[in-house]
């Protein structure tokens, strides 16, 4: 699959830099606006991020923390539709070199229809999708279609999973695996400690796929920590916070301290 190859290449390329891990960032489509999104993405590109999650706003973002909840809500209030997200995604994948992963809730997919949604995703240049409220038991048909279209169905592993469950999850996964470093929703800080590394090591036993680690990455030492145990550091809330705090300048400064 295309994403697997891309990540393998990027991983190799890392060796020749000081950067400890690959980077995946996150943008909520249309929040604060598509123009802002574009500017954020330009900065992210300039810092060489490897992957970007484009979140399709949903009215019931029950796995998100307060900042993303607000972002989802305001985007919808601003009139952002699924249509607009696909159009934006197409523009992004045409222009930038990082790979794009759709992130969102399952109802957005379900309502459009499995086949139709994934086809449109493919057409918009996405490499995969993350649906945090779609358990693998319910994902069979969707994953089958994704496989046909060469879209990576990104699966989450969590600290509460048993080894048996991790094995099951690994089997359903492709592209990379999103390991959730702690309980809770997005947006709060995680202490990168031995508990986290033990969890990542546990995930590693079940899969060869690259491991991404969220949530709560905000400092260079977090990325370093992730580099030691996994492959991809996921930067979510911290980047949005910076943008809200001071737009381009603050976001650049944030990436500078994180990756510079």
């Amino acid at each position: 699959m295309a994403l697997n190859n891309y990540l393998a290449e990027r991983k190799q390329a890392l060796a020749s830099t000081k950067r400890p891990a690959m980077i995946m960032t996150h943008v909520v489509c249309g929040y604060p606006s598509f123009d802002d999104n574009w500017k954020e993405l330009e900065i992210m590109q300039s810092y060489g991020v490897d992957l970007v999650e484009l979140q399709f706003p949903f009215s019931e973002p029950s796995a998100d923390g307060p900042l993303f909840v607000k972002a989802n809500q305001e985007a919808i209030e601003n009139g952002v539709h699924v249509e607009d997200c696909f159009a934006f995604m197409k523009k992004v994948t045409d222009h930038f070199s990082f790979k794009v992963i759709m992130m969102g809730y399952y109802n957005t997919v379900f309502k459009t229809g499995h086949k139709r949604f994934l086809q449109r995703l493919k057409d918009a240049g996405a490499s995969g999708f993350i649906l945090p409220d779609l358990p693998v038991e319910e994902a069979g048909e969707l994953h089958d279609i994704a496989a046909e279209l060469e879209l990576a169905p990104i699966v989450l592993m969590t600290p509460t999973n048993s080894d048996q469950r991790l094995a099951q999850l690994a089997e359903a996964a492709d592209g990379f695996i999103y390991t959730v470093a702690r309980k809770g929703v997005t947006g709060s800080n995680t202490d990168m400690n031995s508990e986290v590394s033990q969890f990542i090591d546990r995930c590693r036993q079940h899969t060869e796929l690259p491991l991404a680690v969220g949530f709560g990455v905000s400092e260079a030492k977090d990325v370093a920590f992730i580099g030691q145990h996994a492959d991809i550091a996921v930067i979510g809330t911290a980047a949005l916070k910076a943008w809200e705090h001071g737009k381009e300048q603050a976001l650049s400064e944030f990436f500078e301290q994180l990756l510079g």
Partner: protein, 430 residues
């Protein structure tokens, strides 16, 4: 998606929940468990504990005894002779869930889950609440079981349901006003899920209706089946026959499925779910997921069912005079039974509800909750057309006296407004 072959029209309660014909947690194509992976083990633990309890006859015994000694069950069935005579049609009977401790059927589910929480060794419960009745019941249960508790309630609901908040707080619960989204029930549910994914180790999420991820619909239905089990014997005793029609309001759908289960195998008994027609048909005007044509199938808040949503799958605003009925989704079990034509769905408008409430107060001395008044309104409409030897049974899911602010507003009572103005001036400025 697995398509579920239509089974014979007669659906039995056992059939509903044995899942032999479908996948576990599915009723036709509705239901399922759509939750973040991090809750997988928590839900498995709950399923296992629930399964054990359901298979353990002493558990139901313990549950019944608790409901008897703490909540005053069995609740009676009352024959509304005056109303029946006045309408000149069917004999109207009412199952009196309003007589439960805390004033509604919500306590059945909550005390049952409380027993499960004790079995699981958890020490903290959380709950969403819209109208406040479920939060009130949960705060009560938490006080009684000695659990810590936090109740999530949309900020809009906190403002309009202060009496319930007052009691919850006084029973030791923390009430959190949720300021996301529409600031109502569905947002409180999202907030509960967020709390749960953080604190599942010691925390149980006491879902308040027969919605959400499996096993909640099954579990809540099971606890609420106490209504139907009692009611069937009682109506046979009181009316000398099975009811021809059974009416229950449908918010999430717990009181309805609770009563309906008692009559699932009685082919001759028609089951009628009464939804919130609000201002009438049209998106945003109501909360009728099945009776009107404004809803469609979706997946949210842990389950697949009919939702009031737009083409993007984002949820619509809803409206009802009854805070407990204005939910976007509906019990997947009921959707299945509706598709099987085992349950008929009707919508009742706010205006009809107010009239039915007034009539019931005056002719029978009963004050149904605004939610329950939906069942009364539809039953009144139909009973009038039925013959005198027919029998209808209404679920009075709760009492209305806790809704005094809403009912006084719905009735436009001037004395009440005057009283509030005067109280306010007694309190003086902040």
């Amino acid at each position: 998606m697995l398509r579920y072959a239509a089974i014979q029209n007669l659906v039995s309660t056992m059939d509903l929940f044995n899942f032999n014909n479908g996948r576990e947690g599915y009723y036709g194509e509705y239901g399922g468990t759509f939750l973040p992976e991090i809750l997988h083990s928590t839900i498995e633990e709950l399923k296992a504990e629930f399964r054990k309890a359901k298979d353990d006859p002493t558990f139901w015994q313990e549950f019944m005894e608790l409901m008897q000694s703490y909540s005053g069950r069995p609740t009676p069935v009352t024959h509304l002779t005056n109303l029946s005579n006045k309408l000149g049609g069917a004999q109207i009977f009412v199952k009196r869930e309003d007589l439960n401790h805390t004033g509604s059927h919500k306590i059945n589910n909550v005390m049952g889950q409380g027993l499960l929480v004790k079995r699981m060794g958890k020490t903290r419960v959380i709950a969403e609440t819209g109208a406040g009745q479920h939060g009130y019941a949960t705060a009560t249960m938490a006080a009684r079981f000695g659990f810590d508790s936090k109740i999530y309630m949309g900020a809009v609901d906190v403002a309009r349901q202060r009496p319930n908040v007052f009691w919850m707080e006084n029973m030791g619960s923390e009430v959190v006003a949720v300021t996301d989204g529409q600031q109502t029930l569905k947002d409180a549910i999202n907030e509960c899920l967020r709390d749960w994914v953080t604190n599942m180790d010691n925390t149980h999420y006491v879902l308040g209706t027969a919605c959400g991820p499996h096993p909640f619909p099954e579990m809540v239905s099971w606890f609420q089946s106490i209504i139907g089990r009692e009611a069937r014997d009682q109506i046979l005793q009181a009316a000398g026959k099975l009811p021809d029609r059974v009416f229950a309001c449908v918010g999430g759908g717990s009181n309805a499925i609770g009563l309906f289960q008692g009559f699932m195998e009685d082919k001759s008994t028609e089951l009628v779910g009464c939804e919130a027609g609000g201002f009438g048909p049209g998106k945003g005007n109501h909360a009728a997921r099945l009776a009107y044509k404004d809803a469609s199938v979706g997946v949210a808040q842990g389950m697949k069912t009919y939702f009031l949503q737009n083409d993007d799958g984002n949820m619509l605003h809803t409206h009802s005079v009854a805070a407990g009925l204005d939910y976007i989704g509906v019990n997947p079990v009921l959707v299945h039974l509706w598709e099987q034509e085992r349950v008929r769905f009707e919508a009742v408008t706010d205006a009809q509800v107010t009239e039915a409430l007034k009539l019931t107060m005056r002719t029978e001395g009963l004050i149904p909750a605004l939610e329950s008044s939906h069942g009364f309104a539809q039953a009144i409409l139909e009973a009038e057309q039925m013959s005198k030897d027919e029998v209808v049974l209404i679920n009075m899911s709760g009492r209305g006296d806790k809704d005094i602010f809403t009912i006084a507003d719905a009735l436009g009572d001037e004395h009440w407004k005057q009283f509030i103005r005067q109280k306010s001036s007694e309190y003086g400025p902040e």
